[in-house]
Each structure stands twice: as structure tokens, then as C-alpha cells.
Amino acid sequence: MVAVLWRRLGIAAASLLPFAWITYRAITQQLGADPAKTIVLFTGEWTLYFLFMTLSVTPLVRLAKWRWLMTHRRMLGLFALFYALCHLAAYLVFILGLDFSRFAAELVKRPYITAGFPAVLILIALGVTSTKAMMRRLGKRWQPLHRLAYLALSLGWVHVFWQIRSSYFEAAVYGAITGVLLGLRGYWSWKRAQNARSVSTP
């Protein structure tokens, strides 16, 4: 039990490091000509990284048998939500100056924002329903609901892909990771279906 607590603290502290780093750079004015954009890009990238980490937990538990990781999946997911909220807040405050009519226009005009915003809404819904009490209340519906994380990640990738200007590199790397993580789920559910059939047919 004590080990779990220490691991929790360690993961939480490590997860806050990117936030501390960007805050430090902002306060000491080391973010260059366009600090707003730098912060928005940075927090957006870390949202994706935490989504990757969260969705890597199940494969690592199943394939590498790192069962201890499962205990920490929720915290990683909540940090994905944390960075997504930072990303959205930085965009609203630093880029749009809290001009919500402009936000409405951007939501319609910029397809990548049209894709990104629902991803944040999904993460909020998943964060709110991540507690033990909510798990009990939702019962069997909890897991299908939390599979929306796959949709959030896919939308996140589309959000990056639609901003490509000069290089496919980032989108290609993120796409490959997303493909592996979602592909594994697809493969497992296909195998489950196969097994179910072979069990039912004598």
C-alpha cells in the first residue's frame, strides 16, 4: 500500500513537470515573440502524450504483465484532461483574449478546432465519471462510455493532421502511435468475437 502511495506521488509530481517548465519559461519571459502560441502548442502536445500514456496502460498490463500500472491509469487520464483544459484555456485567454464571439467563429471556420473542441468535451465527461462512485453508478455502461477515449484520441490526431503546413513528420509519428494503440483494441475485440463463436459452436 505504501509503495502505491509513493508511486502515485511520483507520477503526479512527474506529470506536473511540463506544466512547471512552461510556467517558469512564461514568468521569465523566455517564450519568444509569440508566447501565446508556444504555450498553446506545448499544452496541446502534452495532452496527446498523456492520452498515449493512458491508452498504453492496458496493452502494457496485458502484454508485459505490468499489473501495477493499472492502479495509475486514472491519474494519467486525469492529467490528459488537465493539459487539455490548459490548452483550451490558453487558447481562449492568450490567443482570443476571451472574445467568445471570435471563438464561435473559429469553431465554425477552422476545421481543426471543430475537431479538437469535442475531444476536450469528451475528456471532461470521462474525467467527471472517473470516480469509484461514478463507476458504481454507471455499472455496465461505464466501460462503453470510457471507450470514448479512443474517439478523443482520434479527434486529437485529426486536430494535428489538419494543421499540417510544411511537414508530415509529427502527424506521421502521432498517427503511427494512435494506429498501434487503437489497432490493438480492434485486434482484441476481433479475437474476443472469434473465441465467443468457437465456444458457442461445439
Binding site: A26, D34, A36, K37, I95, K109, R110, S167, Y168
Partner: protein, 332 residues
């Protein structure tokens, strides 16, 4: 009913350029102390603020740039600090992040430099930069630069009118367009070797002949009264202030007079997003974002500095006549 208040005007916005420049000169004098105080500061020398590492060039070029008379178009905008102009820009030959050019452009060797003049003209051939500059008058011009990504800067360039140079090669009546090409040298420009690039190197740009001959169109060799840094397109780059920044091709090695509209890099890469003309136009959106406003850099965190984008980037008086009768929605 709510009455929308007009934006308050800060002191910087109303400081006339001349006063602003004088203050800079005063600050430089105060900062530099003895060494620089001896230099003649009273003349119309280009402004400079030493807030970032400065690249040096050959003495003949530095001298020419320093001698350039400040003959700028009046601009009421505040200059973007040297540090930001030289550390935040797109120069995809060096990488796709805006900090990459400043990091990796030191591999470029801008001196000595040759430019090939080709196509429909009486005189063609390969010329040393030094010889080309021998035929023109250098001046300082403060221009707004509007990036197609909806951010903008205000930059004091040192250069010469492109038309002044082009005339000397005596283009023929077949010369309807001018095509430009950037250096192709993957050993100097690291991202030219990338397999993930959306651009087919070398970078190419072009102008219609009348656009090229417009007195606003500049070939720059300097910035803030100093030699043009590598990351900003040394030693020779185009500046077309009424068009989106990507038209202003950097590190030019070839200028060709053509009869047909030349292919241009971004247009080849994404024809529905980037046109040949690429005039700054708040009414024609990029397919992925609006062009109605821009963020003037440097932008503060709690003052995003969003301003309305002006037609032709505010240079309509000088260039609107070039596009009379043209549908600018079709020719974006």
C-alpha cells in the same frame, strides 16, 4: 443595451516613428557609451537595438548597408524587436518549427554568393552579389509583414527596389513574369533532406512583371541596419509587403524572366490554399482559417494584440491599381 467602448490607445500607438527612432538612438548612445558615442549618430542611420546576437558579413556589404539612407515609407506601427524578427520565422529549408531557422541557419554560407539571371532579357548570366549591388541604391524601408498564418511583424529592411535591378538586364517584351529560386544545398539547409516535407525543393516564387517593377517591391540585403542574418534569407531576399510572407522568397540564387506564370512552391504543395497572387486580403479566408484579423507580434500573454487585417496589408494606395478588374476571390 450595452455600448461597446472603443479600444483605448496606448502611448506606444501614438508615438510618431521619428520620435520613436530618436529614442532608440538615444538609448543606443546611452548604452554603448564611449565606443559608439564617437560614431556619427546625427545622420539618418538605420535604427538598431542590440537585444540579440548580430551576424556579421563582409566589410564591403556592412559598409553599404550602414550608408543606406533612411528613406522609409511613414509607418505608424511599432517596430518588432530585432530579437524576435531574427528568432521567430518560417524558413522551412532549416526546419518546420519557427525557432529552427535561428538554430540551424548558421550552416548556410552566404558569402561569396552568385545569382543567375536568365530568361527573356538582353543581358543574362551569373553575377557576383557584389557586382549586382554595385548597380543599385540601398535604402531602408520599414514594412509590415503579414504571414499567411495570421501573425504579423513590422520590420526595417535595408535593400533596393527590384525594378531598379531588373531594368539593367533589359528584359524583352516576352518577359511577362519574374521567377525566383532559393538555393538548393541540403548540406547547408538541413531540412531539404527531410522525407516528410510537403515542399518540393528548391523553393520557388514568382511575380507578374508589373508587380516586380512596383517601387514597393524590395530586394533586401540588410535588417535593422545590419547584414541580413542567415535565418532571414541571407544574403539576398525578396520583400513584397502587400502579399503574404511566403511570397518573399529567401536566399535567392536565380532570377528568371518568363513568358508564362511560373510555378510557385506553396501553390504546387496546396493549390486550393495558396494562390499565385497571395495578396493580403481580409475578405478571402484561407480554407482552414480566417484572414480577417492578425496577431501583431510580439504579443503579450494578456494582451493578444489582435488587429484587423487591411486590404493589401495597408498598401492599397500603391498597388490596388495592379489588380483592377480582377476577381480577387478567384485569383487569391
Amino acid at each position: 443595451m450595452l455600448i461597446k467602448q472603443t479600444e483605448s490607445v496606448s502611448e506606444n500607438d501614438v508615438t510618431p516613428e521619428a520620435v520613436y527612432r530618436d529614442r532608440r538612438r538615444f538609448m543606443r548612445m546611452a548604452l554603448a557609451g564611449g565606443a559608439l558615442a564617437a560614431a556619427p549618430l546625427a545622420g539618418a542611420k538605420p535604427s538598431f537595438v542590440a537585444d540579440a546576437p548580430v551576424q556579421t558579413g563582409p566589410a564591403w556589404l556592412s559598409q553599404r548597408i550602414e550608408e543606406a539612407q533612411a528613406q522609409q515609407t511613414p509607418v505608424e506601427d511599432k517596430l518588432t524587436p530585432y530579437e524576435h524578427v531574427t528568432s521567430y520565422n518560417n524558413f522551412y529549408e532549416f526546419g518546420y518549427d519557427k525557432s529552427d531557422p535561428a538554430k540551424h541557419a548558421s550552416a548556410l554560407k552566404p558569402h561569396p554568393w552568385k545569382v543567375e539571371i536568365a530568361g527573356h532579357a538582353e543581358k543574362t548570366g551569373r553575377f557576383n552579389l557584389e557586382d549586382l549591388l554595385g548597380k543599385v541604391t540601398l535604402t531602408e524601408r520599414v514594412y509590415r509583414l503579414r504571414c499567411v498564418e495570421a501573425w504579423s511583424m513590422v520590420i526595417p529592411w535595408v535593400g533596393f527596389e527590384l525594378g531598379e535591378l531588373l531594368k539593367q538586364f533589359q528584359p524583352s517584351s516576352k518577359a511577362k513574369y519574374v521567377a525566383f529560386e532559393t538555393l538548393y544545398a541540403p548540406e547547408q539547409m538541413r531540412a531539404q533532406g527531410s522525407a516528410f516535407s510537403t515542399i518540393d525543393w528548391p523553393y520557388r516564387e514568382g511575380l507578374r512583371m508589373d508587380e516586380a517593377m512596383n517601387p514597393l517591391t524590395l530586394l533586401a540585403v540588410g535588417l535593422y541596419g545590419k547584414v541580413l542574418p542567415n535565418q532571414n534569407g541571407a544574403p539576398l531576399r525578396l520583400v513584397v509587403p502587400w502579399k503574404y510572407g511566403f511570397k518573399s522568397i529567401k536566399s535567392i540564387v536565380k532570377i528568371e524572366f518568363t513568358e508564362k506564370e511560373p510555378p510557385t512552391s506553396w501553390n504546387i504543395s496546396a493549390p486550393n490554399e495558396y494562390g499565385f497572387y497571395a495578396n493580403v486580403n481580409p475578405k478571402v479566408s484561407h480554407p482552414r482559417w480566417s484572414q480577417a484579423s492578425e496577431r501583431r507580434l510580439p504579443s503579450g500573454l494578456f494582451s493578444p494584440n489582435i488587429i484587423d487585417t487591411q486590404m493589401f496589408n495597408g498598401y492599397g494606395e500603391q498597388v490596388a491599381h495592379l489588380y483592377k478588374g480582377m476577381d480577387l476571390r478567384k485569383y487569391y
